[in-house]
């Protein structure tokens, strides 16, 4: 059955570790017998080990992705740092140990060795100012820059002045001042700008002037970026040197307190803490913040100038450019803002409308209630009036009836009086006239007294 790469790697690693252990023990014994330098074998062994580590990382990267792969890469990167530090310490031990055994003061030896390390960080500074050095330094630059660099070597007054100053800065550099690197570079660039750089920054002419200007501005931005980067790196290098000094100082203090470091991890941690502290001090300074800011700003400016040139080519190829797409995004954003405010205004208006509706409803309900109440009151009033009228009519009827009765009584009394007052007539009864007629009293039908009304009406 095919084994997974992890299984294969695990077996390989285990075999490798066991082999190295036994190999190392064997070599140690042999080396002790024949006087072979142990440190050289250690370096050779570490070289083999680093090759294995690289192979493991490459194979792992082929089968994994995402965070695990990145973590493994960082682990091996950290191991690289670890091994390099180990290697440098071996180099140190190789130089210092025999001399300590010979009786020299170990603290002075450590300081001297750290100075060598500092010097090795920068390399040969004199190489910057020979023809070969300048050519090497400008190896990766565009052809235009190379041409001007060769031209610079011909004598001209600004250049002669700068070369006269160079040895003093070189002396500073040799004494450990890495900022001399940036001073020398800046002097170089200032002299360039006073001579050939002037022509490059002059306005362009002709049909293609716009494009030429953009290319020229791009080149200027690149030059500024290089200057800012060199200044930044020299600050970092200086800090690196100071961190070594701090480490040595710490070791000296420990030696005076009779404290010793017995593990490589302990030495590594000490180096990290010292370096972290030294760089933290540098990072807090206004000077570093300015230098770092300038490097970042120069990179951003270069990116913008680069885009200006790139977009010219994209336009020629009828491809949409970053600027055009950004403009579209800006319009979309503006529309979204308008929409948001419109929605809010609409919601606020709806809310106001709702409030107004509710107020109107309330008012209408109130009015209706009031009307209802008024009509009820009116009805009650009418009813009361009706009742009163009826009562009045009844009283009137009664009064009429009484009046009529009184009138009839009066009339009867009057008739009686009249009858009583009339003379007595013959005895012939009424039947002589032709029959017996009964005397009937007939009530005279008096016409209705208008004043009394007709009860039958």
């Amino acid at each position: 059955m095919t084994k997974t790469w992890a299984e294969q790697t695990a077996e390989l690693a285990e075999a490798w570790s066991k082999a190295q252990s036994s190999l190392w023990q064997g070599w140690m014994k042999t080396a002790a017998q024949v006087g072979h330098p142990q440190e050289d074998m250690a370096r050779e062994w570490m070289g083999h080990w680093q090759e294995v580590s690289k192979d493991v990382t490459d194979q792992f990267g082929a089968h994994a992705d995402g965070v695990p792969r990145e973590v493994v890469e960082r682990l091996f990167a950290a191991e690289e740092i670890y091994l390099r530090f180990f290697d440098s310490m071996i180099g140190y031990m190789k130089v210092v140990a025999p001399r300590i055994d010979a009786g020299e003061d170990w603290a002075d030896l450590v300081r001297a060795y750290s100075q060598q390390l500092k010097d090795s960080l920068v390399g040969g500074p004199e190489a910057w100012f020979t023809a070969e050095g300048m050519a090497a330094a400008t190896e990766g630059l565009p052809e235009l820059w190379k041409l001007y660099t060769l031209e610079i070597q011909k004598a001209s007054m600004p250049w002669a002045q700068s070369m006269a100053q160079a040895p003093w800065d070189t002396k500073d550099l040799m004494s450990g001042d890495h900022s001399a690197v940036s001073r020398m570079f800046n002097m170089f660039m200032d002299t360039w700008e006073q001579t050939y750089g002037r022509y490059l920054s002059a306005p362009a002419i002709g049909y293609s002037r716009e494009m030429n200007e953009k290319v020229a501005r791009g080149f200027e931005a690149w030059v500024d970026l290089r200057r800012a980067e060199v200044e930044f790196m020299s600050e970092v290098m200086n800090a690196g040197g100071r961190s070594l000094e701090d480490l040595v100082r710490d070791l000296v203090d420990r030696g005076e307190r009779d404290e010793s470091i017995t593990t490589f991890k302990g030495l590594f941690d000490l180096w990290v803490n010292n370096a972290e502290g030294t760089f933290a001090e540098l990072f807090r300074t206004e000077g570093f913040a300015r230098i770092q800011g300038e490097a970042v700003n120069a990179a951003m400016t270069y990116k913008l100038r680069q885009r200006d040139v790139t977009e010219e080519f994209m336009k020629a190829l009828d491809l949409p450019t970053r600027s055009e797409i950004d403009e579209v995004h800006r319009h979309v954003h503006d529309v979204r803002i308008e929409l948001r405010y419109t929605k809010r205004t609409l919601e606020a208006t709806r809310a106001e409308l709702q409030q107004a509706r509710e107020a109107l409803d309330q008012e209408a309900k109130g009015r209706a209630a009031a009307q209802e109440k008024a009509s009820q009151e009116k009805a009650a009033q009418e009813k009361a009036a009706q009742k009163q009228l009826q009562q009045f009519e009844k009283r009137l009827e009664k009064a009429e009836a009484a009046t009529k009765k009184a009138a009839a009584a009066k009339k009867a009394e009057a008739a009686a009086k009249k009858a009583a007052a009339a003379p007595k007539r013959s005895a012939k009864p009424a039947e002589a006239k032709g029959g017996s007629k009964k005397k009937t009293e007939s009530k005279a039908k008096t016409p209705p007294d208008k004043d009394q009304g007709n009860p039958s009406e």
């Binding site: 190295q20 965070v67 990167a77 017995t262 490589f264 807090r284 700003n297």
Partner: protein, 354 residues
């Protein structure tokens, strides 16, 4: 006495042990299929553009009546507060009977380049607050802002005090004029206009580079060397991988928001001066009159304590509780100690104030 007493044989044995552990760790990492984060169950209740509003179903039968809306920073992802089961401020608060909502800003793309702070604060945050208010039938809710999210929450509370019952700010920068924080020092020399014009949205990996520069040796070398000793432990391995995922899972920053935040807050310190303009309104911290619970970390190298402490001086509230917590900017959420102390203190304070 010569301070280095390492025998070559011991040194090489140490190196061999180191590399053996490294390879064992590589094998363990190879077995990890997926890095799980944000384990607490949640549901989407509202979405607008890339912003998602999550609700965490309460873990008690009768949670606290007024819910908390958590506003995280735009930098980094919010699952830091719910990184794993035993290191989750979200779970701790739910267990203590609180009702939680979380705003997830998502990952901006080029189409979001012109989003401003006004869009985030008076747009997305306000809309989410209204959603929570409507869901619970409340006029006011509790607001919890973390780091830059706390700064945005402060701005929101000052512009909409009628919608905020209590305000909680955690490791929140308020006064940006300090030399105690490297970000504050470095930001003064940035040409933000050039950066935003060049990048559009400021890339997350660019931000990561800046954060790594704060402690380069610890964060790029020592951390991984130290990790080797614990890599064989599966639980430690997964914890480490979750943190690694969160550290480098940085969204891009919307260009115009980044521009205004750096210029107005970091470079000109306008917040405490009352000069921050969001849309047509000005932010005045004196309008923050509701109770405030302000937490800061004593060893915070990203937001120096003095930057958070000054909040008390500038808000209008008469009920400000300031709590210090030992640890760093992130440790305040993921350390074992914080699991036992931070959430209970917060929950108690909130419940006392409705």
């Amino acid at each position: 006495m010569f301070p280095i007493n390492i025998r070559p044989e011991d040194a090489f044995k140490e190196l061999i042990d180191f590399n053996q552990k490294l390879l064992a760790g590589v094998e363990s990492i190879a077995d990890v299929e997926e890095i799980d984060v944000a384990p607490t169950p949640r549901e989407v209740v509202y979405q607008e553009d890339k912003t998602v509003l999550y609700h965490y179903p309460p873990k008690v039968e009768n949670p606290h009546a007024i819910p908390i809306l958590i506003v995280y920073a735009l930098v980094n992802r919010p699952y830091m507060i719910d990184i794993q089961h035993d290191r989750s401020m979200v779970q701790n608060l739910l267990n203590l009977g609180l009702d939680l909502y979380l705003m997830d800003w998502g990952y901006v793309d080029r189409g979001d380049r012109y989003l401003t702070l006004d869009d985030y604060i008076n747009g997305y945050i306000d809309n989410c607050v209204n959603v929570v208010r409507e869901r619970h039938g409340l006029d006011k809710i509790n607001l919890l802002g973390i780091c830059q999210g706390g700064t945005m929450s402060l701005c929101y509370a000052s512009l909409h005090p009628g919608k905020v019952q209590n305000l909680i700010t955690m490791v929140t920068p308020v006064d940006f004029d300090t030399k105690d924080g490297l970000l504050n020092v470095w930001a003064q020399h940035l040409d933000v206009d050039a950066m935003v014009d060049a990048f559009g949205n400021v890339p997350g990996h660019f931000m990561n580079g800046g954060f790594l520069m704060l402690k380069p040796f610890q964060l790029m070398a020592e951390k991984y060397v130290g990790f080797i000793d614990t890599v064989e432990n599966e639980a430690s391995l997964k914890s480490f991988l979750r943190m690694e995922k969160w550290i480098f899972d940085s969204p891009d920053q919307a260009g115009e928001t980044f521009r205004q935040f750096i210029k107005d807050f970091y470079q000109q310190n306008k917040l405490i001066k009352g000069e921050v303009q969001l849309g047509d309104r000005r932010v005045d911290l004196k309008n923050v009159t509701m109770p405030v619970f302000n937490v800061y970390a004593t060893e915070d190298h990203l937001v120096p304590p003095c930057s958070s402490l000054s909040l008390e001086e500038f808000v209008g509230s008469e009920d400000v509780t300031t709590v210090d917590f030992p640890g760093g900017h992130i440790g305040i959420y993921v350390s074992g100690r914080s699991q036992k102390q931070l959430a209970p203190a917060l929950a108690e304070w909130v419940k006392e104030r409705g």
